[in-house]
């Protein structure tokens, strides 16, 4: 099957039931998409498929055939997407492991709605767990990025 990953054409010939997560991580070495739970509960593996946030661990390869996948590595050519910039301005990360997924979720939200309400930010980001507890800053960063949009 064929798909695009970060604007590049990619081929996949393995088990169509394999989650996109393992294709990205094990075959393409795009390890910015993190393995956190494997069942769509934590959001660490959030990527964009045709611009919408999905959990790569719960998306099979057959689901993405012919589609365009964007990972954290492809979110911005220079790493300066407004959400990434806001993340740095607010010193959000502690351990950092969940952060690419958080950023991809935040970027997808702002892609859909440039000025989400506080409640919309919290409900959209609530699928992404941060065990270090950076939530206060995650919220502040998404909100700041929305003001820039």
């Amino acid at each position: 099957m064929q798909l695009k990953v970060n604007k590049q054409d990619r081929k996949f010939e393995g088990d169509p039931q394999m989650p996109l997560l393992w294709f990205l991580r094990d075959e393409l070495a795009l390890t910015g998409t993190k393995f956190g739970c494997g069942v769509g509960l934590c959001g660490a593996c959030t990527v964009h498929v045709d611009g919408k946030a999905v959990r790569a661990c719960a998306t099979s390869m057959s689901d993405v055939a012919g589609h365009a996948v964007t990972t954290i590595e492809g979110l911005s050519p220079d790493g300066n997407h407004p959400v990434q910039k806001a993340w740095r301005a607010h010193n959000v990360p502690q351990c950092g492991y969940c952060q690419p997924g958080q950023i991809m979720q935040g970027a997808a939200l702002l892609n859909e709605k440039a000025k989400p309400s506080d409640e919309e930010i919290q409900s959209t980001m609530s699928g992404n767990i941060c065990r270090c507890g950076c939530y206060q800053r995650i919220f502040a960063a998404v909100k700041a990025a929305s003001k820039e949009a």
Binding site: G14, D15, M18, P19, W22, R25, D26, E27, A29, L30, T31, G32, T33, K34, F35, G36, C37, G38, V39, L41, C42, A44, T71, I72, E73, L75, G79, Q84, W87, R88, N91, P93, Q94, C95, G96, Y97, C98, Q99, P100, I103, Q122, S123, M125, S126, G127, N128, I129, C130, R131, C132, G133, C134, Y135, Q136, R137, I138, F139
Partner: protein, 774 residues
Amino acid sequence: MKSVNLESKAIVENVSRRNLLKGVVAAGGLVVAVQALPRNALADGGSVNQYATGAGGMPGGTVWDPHTFVAISPDGTVTIVTHRSEMGTGSRTSLPMVVADEMECDWAKVKIIQAPGDEQKYGNQDTDGSRSIRHFIQPMRACGAAARQMLEKAAALTWGVPDTEVRAQNHKVVHVPSGKSLGYGDLAVAASALPTPSLKSLSLKSSAEFRYIGKGNVPITDLHNITTGKAMYAQDIAVPGMKFAVVARPPVVGGKATKWDADAAMKVPGVVKVVAIPATPAPAKFAPLGGIAVIANNTWAALRGREALNVQWNDGPNKDYDSAVFKEGMAAQARKPGKIERNEGDIDGALAGAAKVVSHEYYIPHGHHATMEPPAATAKVGGGKAEIWACVQSPGGTRGDVANLLGMKEADVTVNVTLLGGGFGRKSKCDFALEAAILSRELGGTPVKVVWTREDDIRHGFYHSVSYQHVTAGLDKNNKVVAWRHRSVSPSLMSNFMPDPKRESALELGLGLIDTPFDVPNLRLETGEAVSKTRIGWFRSVNNIPHAFAMQSMVAELAAELGRDPKDFLLEMIGPARIVDPRKTVTSELWNYGDPWETYPIDTGRLRRVVERAAKEAGWGRKLPAGHGLGIAVQRSFLTYVASVVEVAVAADGSVSVPRVDTAIDAGFIVNPERVRSQVEGAAVMGLSIAKYTEITFKNGRVEQGNFNDYRVLRIGEGAMDVRTHIIEAGIDVPSSGVGEPGVPPFAPAFFNAIYAATGKRIRNLPMGNSVKA
């Protein structure tokens, strides 16, 4: 010098870091120290030393040699080695920042590389116990000062001028009379030819001269890589030719596989080998649990192969572990006299003669770290050598354990430390690295990455110990507390290392039980018996969590009983500012977090000050909306004093939110206030998870939870979104103490005290769930 390159994707192929360092060495640019100094020389009264710490008692002690930690390349880039593991506290940035500041570096020209596990070379690397700044601020200042003085000396010699006429300033050395200068890159070769200054000749900067220390103006070094997905964790390691493995582990600790279908697993496309890993009888330290490993060409094939194994288990001696039954047994122990651990006055007489006696019981179940990165490790074992890449908190310990396992010398074992996607104590235990080593050896040297899934992580952890606390207070006719008896029942983490002591060990007793600071004339602290039925491990702030929960809840309960203000009553329980010295009244030793009493005594003046500061900042006593309440709690842990005021809002349906938290922290001198705030914010979130959700239960010896659906942790918007950190300012002469852990213990009792203030309902069994009515 070797080091893993955390900025590189292809971690093995890209050796630019190593080449850089080799290049530096070849160019003679490595700043050299020639003196062999005694371990922890700083603590032995050198002029640099301001206070003694327990660092010298840790494996490897301390090292401050600039030759070990600092390299300067001809372009002026200063490379600083960081030897502690980074799991989110910021020490990977903060310790090099201390070196850089003392060295008068421009932070923009500093690069940080991670040391492999080698405690003889780097000093202690066990990143645990909130020790990184506490034990290494002084050695790292000495390291930076020594490097700075060598650069100054090199400039003075180059110019032929007296030492007194030169001064290092922002990455160059200036000849003060003429104004001419040389950059650090220009001086590297000459500086390397000089002997290291003696410890006594070192001149530290005054704190007024600090550029970075204490300022909070340096973002973490990995910030850009984290936000662009380039940061490398152990789950992300890719070594050429590497295979991927998952392990079916015994569902009951101590169990063994009796039968499995290796053929079925081998039929899954991509599976290359099925390997049995032996179990180790208790006490097993960090040895793997054993089980059946499936090795494959990618993670997905390994997972599918594992599903096909259909393993049958002999569950072994812990097969009856049932946490609900166990709780009843602990309660029975807590209700009868236990082993006396500290005794002052006449508790029995005081209780018998008391006008009123109040008793309450408090329970906290097993918890689990659930680091966002499940454990993972890659190993390459062959040709008499082993190389490991792992997210370990203790790379030095891991190196020793791998060497023991493989029958190698430590010199033949390299442990590369990746970033840790969370640690919280779980990654102090290197069982996953040992699994990888066994499997690579079985494959004859092919590298193997062992991936733990979330279910593996939650079902095969080293659990935060379950605990049952029984507290009794006696009041005289004037409503003064004249008797305090606290019995604590909790299986010991020491059961990993020795025959089960069946009660809290000295280490655990020192975590908030026998160091009770209350001003009560008749005081007794006891433990009851509790046998460990699973792997008990330390979890961020460890037994401080149950001890503080019981003590700080009980104080508020007594205040309520007497109609007193909880904050005023808490201050009365603490009593006047003084040094509380339990060393005379404990029945064994008082474990003071491994640090000298003289440097870090129990100072109730500092305890009072954080209570008063948190209360003031929170507007204690202010008028609150209906359904809101304020609660307060304090704990000295990891030699740091923390008080939190939690505001709760209880809705009509009983659901509880936390609109605001005010936390005052006195951790002595603060190196990085920005990271202190992030730790305090995160501690509130973790504390709220403990209060509301986190619970591991056992049935038939098996953990009943498996993922974030049934092991619930706090999500965004569920509270603690407005945490305000109030740092008690302290000068450089006030010994730095811990920061990573001490924010956690006061949170849960302050939260439940707030719920009581809002609703009149007292919660003594954790977790509460999301609703006060649940």
